[in-house]
């Protein structure tokens, strides 16, 4: 992981927008788009690991991982976002810990850790599909890119909800 850099375009002005302490976000790519997750929730990032599939589980649950004795559920972000599934074999695991549960987000590529001040968070633009929007907490804008922030609480809510279950 590379060192955090201040990528917030807004706080280039001194004193403005930098009243809030910068927070670190772990960023990654799914289908070319950049997403990020609050680094405090990320336990670790691991390369592709053998996954034990869960029969009869919904498509977004790829299976279970054994992470040094901790059983972590692997969730495919592509399936979660209802994106087209290309047979990408080597996925990276962003292992997050939420509400005591270990959940690993399977993503295409890992990018840098970025820093944004909390108040630079903006609303999700309309161009984002409703399905993806339901998992986002907001976006951060930099001159070059938009970082969509995945809200893990929303992810957990979805996983726990009825819609996510099998018949």
């Amino acid at each position: 992981m590379s060192f955090g850099k201040n990528a917030s375009g807004h706080s280039s002005k001194e004193g403005e927008g930098s009243r809030a302490a910068p927070e670190q976000y772990s960023s990654f790519r799914v289908q070319g788009k950049r997403y990020c997750v609050n680094a405090l929730s990320v336990q670790e990032i691991v390369r592709a690991m053998p996954i034990t599939p869960l029969p009869l589980a919904p498509a977004h649950i790829h299976g279970l991982l054994n992470l040094r004795g901790q059983i972590v559920t692997a969730i495919g972000v592509r399936e979660l976002f209802s994106l087209a599934q290309e047979p990408v074999t080597d996925k990276m695991n962003v292992v997050c810990n939420l509400q005591g549960t270990g959940v690993s987000l399977l993503v295409d590529e890992i990018d840098d850790v970025v820093e944004f001040p909390a108040d630079a968070l903006e609303a999700v633009p309309d161009s984002v599909s409703p399905r993806i929007r339901s998992f986002l907490g907001g976006v951060f804008k930099t001159p070059g890119e938009i970082f969509c922030v995945i809200d893990l609480v929303k992810v957990m809510d979805f996983l726990n909800s009825d819609k996510a279950q099998i018949a």
Partner: protein, 914 residues
Amino acid sequence: MTGAFLCPPVVFLFARLAETRKRDAIGPSRDDMDERTLEAKVRVGELCARLTRSILQAESLEVWPDTALCDSMSRDLHSLKGLCMAIGASQEAAIVHSLESLLEGTRTTQSFSDDISERILKDLDVLTKFSESAFGPEVTPGSSFESTSPEKTLGGSAATATPHALRTKETTQGKPGSTESPRPTHVGGEGGPKDSDNFLRVQVSLLDHLMGLVSELVLIRNQLHQFSASNDDTEFLAMSQRLDVVSGGLQTEVMRMRMQPVSTVTLRFQRLVRDVGKDLGKHVELHLEGNETEIDKTIIETIRDPLTHLVHNALDHGIETPEERSQAGKSQRARLTLKTYQEGGQVIVEISDDGRGIDTARVSKKALENGLITSERLSRMTSKDVMSLIFSPGFSTAEKVTDLSGRGVGMDVVKTNIEQIGGVVDVTSTLGKGTTITLRIPLTLAIVPALIVHCRGLRYAIPQLKIVELVRLDSEDEAQKIQCEMLEGGPVLRLRGRLIPLLSLRAILHPENDEKLTARDVQGSIVILRNEGHDFALAVDEVNDSIDIVVKPFVSFLKSLRIFSGATILGDGGLALILDLAGLCQHCAMETTAGAPDTASTSAFGETDNDQRQRLARGTNPEFLLCGVGERDVVAIPLPQVFRLEVFEKQDIELTARTPVARYRDGLLPLILLSKALDLSTDFQDEETIDTLLSAHQLDVIVTERHGRLIGIVVSRIADIIHTTSEVNELVRPSPGALGTLLEGTNVYTVVNVSVIVDTWMRDVLGEAPPSGSEPRQKALARVLLVEDSNFFRKYTASVLQASHFDVHAVSNGLEALEHLRQAPQNAFDLVLTDIDMPGMNGFDLARELRASDAWFKQTPIIALTSLVSQRDKLTAKAAGIDEHIEKVNLDKIPALLADVLGRLWQGIKGGAA
């Protein structure tokens, strides 16, 4: 520190108090609570526990004050007050302050009265609750330590009961080494004067992490093992061996860390015994032995409730009143002993009392009265067996309901709870002397023996407890008793005369492959499993070893995958999913009712005569069970109607007044003689036939299920199962109980219609009318059409009514109701129960519509379920054609009200001969 400080204005203090109270009332989570506050609360809990013990001790003394004890209690109270002040719990501190005064008073009066101890104990309870408000179930404050060394004096005279909370706080604040600055983990002796210096307080989550790491280490060691097996390097081998020893030792020690002394549970009983004893007016002394015996953390909580109940029970029923004891020549003080020890991989807990013992005569009588057992069976029981009857469900119908577990209490619940964790319950007793109940529980729950099976390259674990046996099917063993037969497309295993539904794990887990099983495919390994008394067979690809696994339950959102209960990490680091049998059965049951092939057990459910006749008439390769009836005749019973084949011994049979019955599966199975039912052999009489059959010492019985009950059909012998392509000839019916005849080769068999036989028998022998309609299995009181727009009321009214044996169909508005009635068959409903206030078509309009129509429901009684009961509404209702009202009251009362109303209505109808 978070407390208020020196001389704040009173207003500020109150504000602080309010804030603290609010925070404590909500119960801050461990995360956002100050670690120090957390720690302080733990100490508060410990102090309260110790003070409680001191009070109990003080009560039993003849002379008061016992200076040492009194001083010790004073000091504890003082520390307690200081702690409360330190975390800003001013109200709690005030409570302690008043206790201090109270205690001081007893020094002067020289008496430690009951009232005083009651008061102090009650207040300590309040404080204990306060101390527990921060915790989840992991940390149990207080009782894990046995306090032997006296607490070091805090300094400051304990006797000066100063009214100003502030000043006291100053005093304690100024003392170094006081208990105000606790840390989450600390070594005893430094600063905090603690109980025993040999204990360390550690967060449970740390222990769990440690366990995880050690397990991982063991896995790596295993891998190293495999590597070293093929390696000749002696140095490497030596190192590997040393690693073995060390990691093995590490694992053992870490596992031991999870063990807690059983005193965590048992010490609280002292208080319980005292309080309950007082309530009942009995003098009871509790003796605890083996308190230091250690039990795994996972089990401790599980046995708390059962143990509490057993103690209660001993106090209630086991121990006599002081008068009774005197009369019996016993000491007035009864003795209750709780002994805990380890033996052979188990923990044994013995609860013994020297009370009145179990009167087997009374137990027998009660069991007979409650219909739990037949007198015949009773006569064959040993006295120990009889005593075990107290654990039968339904035995203690007169048992007091305490608020222990919320649900029914009773010894059967204790037995179930203990057995659920793999333990056993035993009872021995001597009349007049006492009773001992022994619990044997496994050392740990987290580890469970399981069988590893393979399916499609993945591994699954099946808990050993549920496995009955393992069977292999080889194609050349057709001739053997074990056969696999196809039944309407669904496989059934015939095992020693029983028919067991066969499931394929592959088909269940991978339904997308749409694999239809043929008998050949199921060749291989079969695991016979038992789930809640029902057996079924599971075909897997391969069976591996039986190993001990560490169960890791699923996370919340995976819990909906009912067929799995969790996962486990195997020796090589791979994961195996643990199968949940109940979930598996549910899953398959759903599949079968959704139209997939039936198995033998499900097809006997709820299938109407029509369906069956149609199915058989279609001649879709049905199977028949050939049975001998009477001397010569052989009949054919459609295999789908067969639930089980059983053989009963003479002693299992009882001849009751109405019908012979057999002891079967914790219940009684009514028996029908097929020969009589078919009227085939008219020259025999009832008793003679039963006797004739019984003289052969064995009874062949076909168990069938009808209308939710199991009935047994007695035949002279079970001959064979045939598959046939012939069709049942329905024109030739030798008797009303027959479906027709079957031509098989040169033989003609009468095909029996089991449903008709059972229904006829129910009508003739039991005097019951079989339920009409194909849905209701129980005899319904009435069929109700419920019209209610509120989702909540509709759902709950329907379920409340159904639980009281009403058959309910619910719709959400008047229009739907009308539609439904129009499309329903004649007399589909006995009444319409409708809300009045509904959008669209309200209750009045609905009634008017129904009365105006010409269909069968013109006359159907309409009952309004409503909260509108003004005079005017009543008149409107009557005019609209509504017969009666039920007020929307407590939902639970509705069935009774409805039954009343119906009773009146029907009497009116009969009387009026409408």
